[in-house]
């Protein structure tokens, strides 16, 4: 392995940016491909697949054998609101492999008694997200119903290109939210990325069912990253 390649790869991993290390198993030469870099042909298609699935693999392309090692940041889920839905979502997300954090400045809601074994911040999103910024491997679900708490986080999520952004509330509630986000300077195409009403449409009624719908939508968004542009996903 080229020492410079290793150094660069570790820099990408520390910064939570996705990279695929491509090694030619014939001559040992290696290079780093970042997400969004264009690589032509069969090798390019295999690299794109590796980014999407996160599964490392050996592939035959151009008469050579390459090893593609996927280095994807671990996806995390940030939930704004220490509410009933979040209580159900926390253990489910953990089982599904999406570490979850909850942010809610209302200290009556954000208590360790209501959320055992969860990373819980009884603070304003502005303060928490300054310390641990959102990124493209983070999903954000805003479920407080309170614009004072949700709006800043939603704007931060679309600015950081979070792979999933969802907001609780009816279509009517969301229409008002769109107006507020436009006033905050968000673009209409950015706002269109917000899933609202939140969650896959499975007819969820109870808080726990809504949590399932949010988690399913998060997983779908994660596993179809980059596919929307190609029209491969409806």
């Amino acid at each position: 392995m080229d020492p410079y390649v290793l150094k660069t790869l570790n820099e990408e991993r520390r910064a939570r940016r996705a990279a695929v290390l491509v090694t030619d198993l014939g001559d040992g030469r290696d290079r780093i491909v970042r997400e969004g870099d264009h690589v032509a042909g069969d090798l390019g298609a295999a690299i794109a697949n590796t980014f999407r699935t996160g599964n490392s693999q050996s592939v035959e392309a151009e008469g050579r054998t390459f090893f593609l090692n996927a280095h994807l940041p671990r996806p995390r889920l940030v939930v704004i609101g220490a509410v009933h839905i979040s209580q159900a979502l926390a253990p489910m997300a953990k089982i599904a492999g999406y570490p979850l954090e909850i942010i809610d400045p209302r200290t009556a809601f954000a208590t360790p008694e209501r959320f055992p074994d969860v990373a819980l911040h009884a603070e304003w999103p502005q303060d928490v997200l300054k310390r641990a910024p959102l990124d493209s491997y983070t999903a954000l679900a805003a479920v407080t119903h309170d614009p004072k708490i949700d709006d800043f986080a939603l704007k931060a999520a679309i600015d950081a290109r979070c792979f999933y952004v969802g907001a609780l509330g009816s279509r009517k509630t969301h229409a008002k939210r769109v107006e507020r986000l436009l006033a905050l300077g968000a673009g209409a195409d950015q706002i269109a990325r917000i899933h609202a009403p939140i969650g896959l449409d499975i007819g969820a009624a109870s808080p726990a069912e809504i949590a399932v719908a949010i988690l399913a939508q998060t997983i779908h968004a994660f596993r179809s990253r980059g596919l929307e542009a190609k029209g491969a996903v409806a």
Partner: protein, 112 residues
């Protein structure tokens, strides 16, 4: 299970390999490049080895690490990468202990 979203720098094999390199050590990196059956560690897993035989990480959860470390010392010496195969079909592999029923292919290369 580690639930941090950040790298565990003290245990991450590739971070350790970079640190060894900065300390002027000779280093080999072993990578699982293919698995069949019930392999204990997924494709992409690393074991990193220095010239004294110190190692971090794992390619098989303990079954074949000893053999990989031995091969890695040769790779550090020669600079020539090697492809190793371990599995129950292989007499040597059975001796070194991949008795879990899987087969793995491990690529061993020198850093630099």
């Amino acid at each position: 299970m580690d639930e941090s979203i950040y790298l565990d720098e003290a245990r991450d094999p590739l971070i350790i390999a970079e640190g060894w390199m900065k300390d002027g050590k000779d280093v080999a990196i072993a990578t699982v490049v293919e698995t069949w059956g019930s392999a204990p560690r997924p494709v992409g897993s690393h074991l990193v080895i220095d010239a004294e035989g110190n190692f971090h990480g794992s390619v098989s959860g303990g079954c074949v690490e000893g053999a990989v470390v031995t091969e890695a010392m040769d790779v550090i010496g020669s600079g020539k990468a090697r492809m190793l195969e371990f599995g129950v079909a292989d007499e040597t592999a059975w001796q070194v202990g991949l008795s879990c029923g899987g087969r793995i292919k491990v690529y061993v290369e020198r850093l630099g």
